[in-house]
């Protein structure tokens, strides 16, 4: 059935339209964009006073299924995604079992199709069981539907293996997405290493644990002429290294998370375990560098690293809590606050970071742009809507967010995925 968005003020990465238009959607595609469209029998959504953006694409989500369905499921994660305006999400392979075979990929795709809310792209493991020893059957993973591979949660420590993985993944047409962490340097650190970790008596995880892997992988990628994608970069030095590599023509892309451009290590003082995340929250200078990297294009994408954990898992000592925080439902409002209101990005530039650019990085040609012939994945947003982050309002199964209680501005009111209305804000209707 056709869907008609009336009075749409379209904001693409290329810019914001001056006047409102109507968007006609049929068969999952955008079929017409014109000042005035009427279609008998079409479902009508009035976007008056709101902005219509291409649906957000998140390269970094943990859906926890299979294995830890108490934390999140493909269904609850999908719901959380569409509430945040995401229409495509890449789910990380650190599940049980790990996503290291075509069967597991197929299982996730089947479940996601049953749920039918959002495009789920499973990211395969680089190594079998993410053990860092033997590479996975990447050709098979690609055929099953993977676009990228990662051992996320762990960095690939063995340099020789990283070289083989990059070579093989290139043949398979898969993007290698590196979790940048040298375990020997991070040494089970709980927070950013520095004067504050010393003061709090928490084991420090120095930023060099991230940068030595980035520097190494830049060298390997340069040598092989392959692409590599760095996930959740957190430090100023990482931004510097990547900026220089790109200037020299190395094919590197990277992502940063809302929490790394919003929060500093200072919040750890509360010993609130929702502030424990890997890589850890760093200093003000690092936050500023991440913003500068987003502004000058060094950082391609905003990805959430949505990492749900149960109350039971998080309600323990800081040392014992698993790292990670949920991010799908707060990403857009935090980006508006820190980046758009903060003068780092314009709204079209934010659309680029959250939609067009991740589509480019993963080769999703029909996504990330509102134009005739493109996939009908849309987020309709009310930029003026003020709301408060609460447990009750959060639809993810887990509530581990350091932003609980924050007052934010800007909210997704409607999400359309594949031409289907998949989310309507209860408060808007």
């Amino acid at each position: 059935m056709a869907l008609l968005i009336k009075n749409a003020r379209i904001v693409n990465a290329a810019g914001e339209d001056k006047e409102t238009k109507d968007i006609l959607i049929d068969g999952g595609k955008i079929v017409q964009i014109a000042p005035q469209i009427d279609r008998e029998g079409a479902t009508v959504v009035d976007a008056k006073g709101k902005k219509v953006l291409p649906g957000f694409i998140d390269l970094h989500v943990h859906l926890r299924e299979p294995g830890r369905e108490d934390k999140e499921t493909i269904e609850s994660g999908s719901r959380s995604a569409v509430k945040g305006g995401f229409t495509s999400i890449f789910c990380m392979p650190n599940t049980t079992p790990a996503i290291d075979t075509a069967q597991t990929v197929q299982y996730i795709l089947d479940q996601a199709r049953k749920v039918g809310l959002v495009n789920v792209y499973p990211v395969g493991a680089i190594t079998k069981n993410r053990a860092g020893v033997e590479i996975t059957e990447m050709m098979d993973l690609k055929r099953a539907g993977c676009l990228g591979v990662s051992d996320d949660g762990r960095g690939l420590m063995n340099s020789g293996l990283m070289r083989r993985a990059l070579e093989y993944a290139k043949m398979a047409g898969l993007l290698v997405m590196q979790h940048c962490e040298d375990d020997n340097l991070s040494a089970k650190g709980m927070m950013n290493e520095g004067a504050l970790s010393t003061l709090l008596g928490l084991k420090g995880d120095p930023f060099i644990a991230e940068t030595v892997i980035i520097a190494r992988d830049i060298e390997i990628a340069r040598y092989l002429g392959t692409r590599v994608h760095f996930m959740h970069i957190s430090s100023a030095r990482s931004v510097d290294l990547i900026r220089r590599a790109r200037a020299e023509g190395v094919k590197v892309t990277c992502e940063a998370t809302p929490h790394h451009f919003t929060l500093t290590e200072e919040v750890v003082k509360s010993f609130d375990t929702s502030t424990k995340v890997n890589p850890p929250l760093r200093t003000r200078a690092d936050v500023d560098a991440i913003k500068a990297g987003l502004k000058d294009g060094t950082i391609d994408c905003i990805a959430t690293d949505h990492a749900p954990h149960t109350h039971e898992d998080k309600e323990v000592e800081y040392d014992g809590a698993p790292p990670g925080l949920i991010g799908l439902e707060t990403a857009f409002a935090l980006a508006l606050k820190e980046l758009v209101a903060g003068g780092v990005l314009t709204l079209p530039q934010l659309v680029d970071k959250m939609s067009a650019s991740p589509a480019r990085v993963m080769g999703l040609e029909n996504k990330g742009d509102i134009a005739v012939g493109k996939d009908a994945d849309l987020a309709i947003v009310d930029l003026g809507c003020e709301w408060k982050v609460t447990k009750e309002d959060t639809v993810s199964k887990s509530k581990n967010s350091p932003f609980m209680g924050w007052a934010l501005k800007g909210r997704v009111t409607t999400t359309v995925c594949g031409g289907k209305l998949v989310y309507t804000d209860a408060r808007a209707s």
Partner: protein, 308 residues
């Protein structure tokens, strides 16, 4: 003198110099109680103090227990699992069970930094931190400050040199926080791998040069050196540590002639401190233990005697 305003004692970071002075002054009176024939006063009669120890520590627990008993409080000891993950019962759950038994104050020792904070946030009992991870051990620092003040009258301008594994030491952190507030000049010294990043920002001088650190020191405090540090590659060997950093009679000569020798205990004689030094005339190690009870009585009295 100022009034006591805190419900918990977590750390000396968040106490003022006035708070510390009040504890010291109160402890002075309690020291007299411990020297009596009848070492007991009824001040905390009817109050219940629980010792929640998730890390083995006989000394600190016994010291707190005696302190509570000399104030006529009832005490109970609870051995908690070292990690919540092992036992399935979380630290908070254990604490809520203690609270359900109408306990007024919990003395907590835990291997994880910040663990007492969980109890302070999650229950309505007063919490005393008896050592958490590498973060803080406020009563140890208070008794150290008390001991120095008793000997020198004040910490103003006193040079305190702390030698050893600063990185893993909650005693060092709390002493730095408290002693600097009291006007002392604190120097920390140890192998470069065991001096934590950014320690200078706490207001101390950090050095690997033991001679420089000891020169002119009024107080020399040796910290316990754990054998595990060798396995974790912080040290090539304990033997090399002994050669470079052990407080020997020769090294002690570099400090002031009447310098005090302190150690939070238990000592590894011949490793961080030579037996002759630990037992020597300058040593106040046993006085530290005696003073510990007075300090802990003062802390319990101030926390439990306040109007709620």
């Amino acid at each position: 003198m100022s009034k006591w305003k805190h419900k918990h004692l977590m750390d000396l970071q968040d106490t003022t110099r006035d708070d510390i002075e009040l504890i010291l002054e109160t402890a002075r009176s309690f020291k007299e109680v411990s020297s009596r024939e009848i070492k007991k006063v009824p001040a905390l009669r009817g109050k219940t103090v629980a010792m929640l120890f998730a890390e083995p520590s006989t000394r600190t627990r016994v010291s707190f227990e005696l302190a509570a008993k000399r104030l006529s409080a009832d005490t109970l000891a609870i051995q908690a699992a070292a990690s919540s993950l092992v036992k399935g019962e979380t630290l908070l759950d254990t604490a809520l069970n203690i609270e359900a038994m109408n306990v007024d104050l919990v003395v907590v020792r835990h291997g994880a930094s910040g663990a007492p904070q969980i109890l302070a946030n999650g229950t309505s009992m007063s919490i005393v931190n008896a050592g958490d991870g590498c973060r803080a051990h406020p009563t140890q620092a208070l008794l150290d400050i008390f001991t120095i003040k008793e000997k020198f009258g004040s910490l103003e301008g006193v040079k305190v040199t702390i030698v050893g594994d600063i990185l893993h030491s909650r005693v060092a952190r709390s002493n730095i926080a408290g002693m600097i507030k009291m006007g002392a000049h604190v120097v920390v010294c140890g192998p470069s791998t065991l001096l934590p990043v950014g320690i200078e920002e706490m207001g101390v001088e950090a050095t690997t040069d033991i001679n420089k650190a000891l020169k002119g020191a009024d107080v020399v405090m040796a910290l316990r050196m754990q054998k595990e540090r060798q396995q974790d590659a912080f040290l090539p060997s304990i033997a090399e540590y002994v050669r470079e950093f052990c407080i020997t009679p020769e090294r002690l000569k570099m400090a002031n002639a009447r310098a005090l020798v302190m150690h939070p205990g238990p000592t590894n004689r011949g490793i961080e401190i030579a037996a002759e030094v630990a037992d020597g005339p300058q040593s106040v190690i046993l006085e530290q233990v005696t003073n510990g009870i007075a300090i802990r009585m003062a802390v319990l009295y101030l926390l439990l005697g306040r109007k709620t």
